[in-house]
């Protein structure tokens, strides 16, 4: 008898990869075919997509339901401003350094909040984010509660021409999204990712099989925090102005992100992508209606949660058994014609 073969890719996933590669090339060329507004919108979409993928990694795989990720978005944003204004760093260097600093900062934060479980954890993270907000509001060099703007000189250091800056800013966002998705994907495909998925399904069994749950979650938390801070830096590089309320907004950086992940399908890689698209479709069509837009958003959240708790991708997957990102293993035993 021949030995069975183990494969991971499926037909659907291979096709998806080819389409994704083509789409990536088209997207990378966007500065030559898209208008300025589209470019900026797409940049924002990519950054939200990155945040969603990161939050999904934490909540959907590591079971860390945080409502305090704005802590690191804001931290990244503020570090961009602080390191460029006072440290004289190039913005891109500042953003990368912000990621490193966020990673360092997330360790003591984790030591504190990992003591909490479930809803306590969620609220603990929120309080930590509030502490970040109020602390940055006390730093008068960064404008205190009123915030500060990124000096024009620093923005110009990115590129001389306006279109150059816009293209660069777009590519940074695209690059960030591609990096985040690739990293999350490769991580989940690795042994560690397998461990993380195991933890999600049963902590008792996971620790009995040699998985250090605390450390695995810590790693996820630290890496997610670092990436989130980088995305935060990029977001505020687009906004050019930062204030504690904007930087640490629970609605903008966490509630909307949770919304995206959950309507798309939590615990899947495809979910955040679909959720981001849906969210921006809603926003672009309705945002001018102000209160109505937000009420619709609230209603969509409720309806999706009640009718399709696994999100849109959950529906699709249950229906068609599809997997675009080949994470699972298939054992092929049908060597002989039976």
């Amino acid at each position: 008898m021949s030995t069975p073969a183990v494969t991971r890719a499926t037909r659907a996933s291979r096709i998806a990869m080819i389409i994704a590669a083509l789409a990536l090339i088209v997207l990378a060329l966007a500065p030559w075919w898209a208008g300025r507004a589209d470019l900026r919108l797409m940049g924002e979409i990519f950054l939200y997509l990155s945040l969603a993928c990161l939050w999904n990694l934490m909540a959907g795989y590591a079971g860390l339901v945080s409502v305090g990720q704005q802590a690191f978005v804001g931290f990244g944003g503020y570090m961009l401003f602080a390191l460029t204004i006072f440290g004289g760093l190039h913005p891109i260097a500042a953003i990368l350094l912000a990621g490193v600093l966020a990673a360092a900062l997330s360790v003591p934060v984790a030591a504190l909040i990992f003591r909490l479980k479930g809803a306590y954890f969620a609220i603990g993270t929120w309080v930590v984010a509030e502490v970040f907000r109020l602390t940055f509001a006390q730093i008068s060099a960064l404008g205190g509660g009123s915030g500060t703007s990124l000096p024009v000189g620093i923005v110009r250091s990115l590129a001389d021409s306006r279109s150059g800056r816009e293209a660069l800013s777009y590519w940074l966002a695209l690059g960030a999204a591609v990096t985040v998705i690739t990293c999350v994907y490769l991580f989940l495909r690795s042994r560690r990712g397998l461990a993380l998925t195991a933890i999600r399904d049963s902590e008792v069994a996971a620790s009995g099989l040699g998985i250090d749950i605390w450390r695995t979650k810590l790693e996820v938390y630290v890496v997610t925090s670092a990436f989130t801070a980088v995305i935060g830096g990029l977001l505020f590089l687009q906004k050019l102005r930062i204030s504690p309320d904007a930087a640490f907004s629970v609605n903008d950086w966490t509630a909307f992100v949770i919304f995206i992940v959950v309507i798309g399908g939590i615990g899947t890689l495809e979910g955040p992508i679909i959720g981001t698209i849906l969210f921006f479709l809603l926003r672009e069509t309705l945002a001018d209606f102000g209160t109505i837009y937000l009420m619709v958003l609230g209603a969509v959240a409720i309806v999706v949660m009640l009718k399709a708790p696994k999100g849109v991708w959950g529906l699709v997957r249950d229906r068609f058994d599809l997997e675009l990102f080949p994470l699972s293993y298939r054992v092929n035993t049908k060597q002989k014609g039976d």
Binding site: V131, Q138, I258, M305, L306
Partner: protein, 288 residues
């Protein structure tokens, strides 16, 4: 010295308000493990209902409670049975997202209905009345609020521990399946719990509206204090919630005494310190 005493006393009184924000949360958190993100906005909704009643009927805000409390209780019951019951389970995400949606809807509906203008409930002379106690001037309204917090919490304690309804709450929160076997319809019990919680919310909303101006957007800030009071006190412990509110209030006024910028920060830090030392809060209900 007297300033510090003043800060502590004012903090304790402030804690009464926080305990009122938190009592309803504590109840539903304790009974159904529901994290209600919309709680802050429901407090504001109650304040607006109070406003409409006082304006329409020309009655005192405290009298309006007679209308607002049953109204909020009704809203609570319908909300729970129509919507929130379907989100309960081990996963904390569905209730989180659904109540977030609810929060957004309530907030924006209030904005549509009442505009963003700050509003206030006018309670007349009681708002500014005070008594002098040992060199301190204490407002009647904060004293009343604190007294109300004690009454509400004692009342909840009584309902919880001395009535058939309370027995139902405890039984369902201990073990939903077995409670069903006893003939308790958990959907109804949860509905009653939410009704009671929102009746308390009505008191909190009216007292808030008398104490300060409110607009549709200020619910979120109140929510986090409520959660902190609940968690500091310990899940499902109603008197603990009062203690939690007081700790939060005192931490805030002491923090503010050092530097006003630290007022809220000091409250949050007190919360984190408590959690670092006692992750289950100060007085958690003994777990089985």
């Amino acid at each position: 010295m007297i300033e510090w005493v003043n800060a502590v006393v004012q903090g304790i009184l402030l804690g009464g308000l926080y305990a009122l924000f938190a009592a309803g949360l504590s109840l539903i958190f304790g009974v159904m493990r529901l994290v209600n993100i919309a709680h802050g906005d429901l407090i504001i909704l109650a304040a607006y209902l109070g406003l409409s009643t006082t304006v329409l009927l020309g009655i005192h805000p405290f009298v309006a409670l007679l209308i607002v409390m049953p109204a909020m209780a009704g809203i609570g019951y319908v909300l729970q049975r129509g919507l929130l019951n379907r989100t309960l389970g081990d996963d904390i995400l569905p209730p989180l997202l659904v109540t977030f949606g609810l929060s957004v809807i309530v907030q924006n509906a209030l904005l549509e209905g009442y505009t963003a203008d700050p509003q206030k409930l006018n309670a007349g002379a009681i708002e500014t009345a005070s008594v002098a106690v040992g060199g301190l001037s204490l407002g009647i309204l904060p004293l009343l609020t604190f007294g109300m917090a004690i009454v509400v919490i004692a009342g909840l304690q009584w309902i919880f521990y001395s009535t058939a309804l309370g027995r139902g709450f405890r039984a369902v929160s201990d073990n939903q399946d077995i409670a069903q076997l006893m003939g308790l319809n958990k959907a109804h019990v949860f509905g009653m719990a939410m009704a009671l919680a929102l009746a308390v919310t009505a008191i909190a909303g009216i007292l808030l509206g008398v104490r300060t101006s409110f607009d549709p957007a200020i619910g979120g800030g109140r929510l986090i204090f409520g959660f902190e009071a609940v968690i500091i006190g310990g899940l499902g412990n109603i008197w603990g919630t009062l203690a939690g509110g007081v700790i939060l209030g005192v931490a805030q006024t002491i923090g503010a005494k050092i530097d006003p910028g630290w007022q809220v920060l000091a409250g949050h830090i007190a919360f984190l310190v408590v959690l670092a030392v006692r992750p289950n809060g100060l007085f958690p209900r003994v777990e089985h």
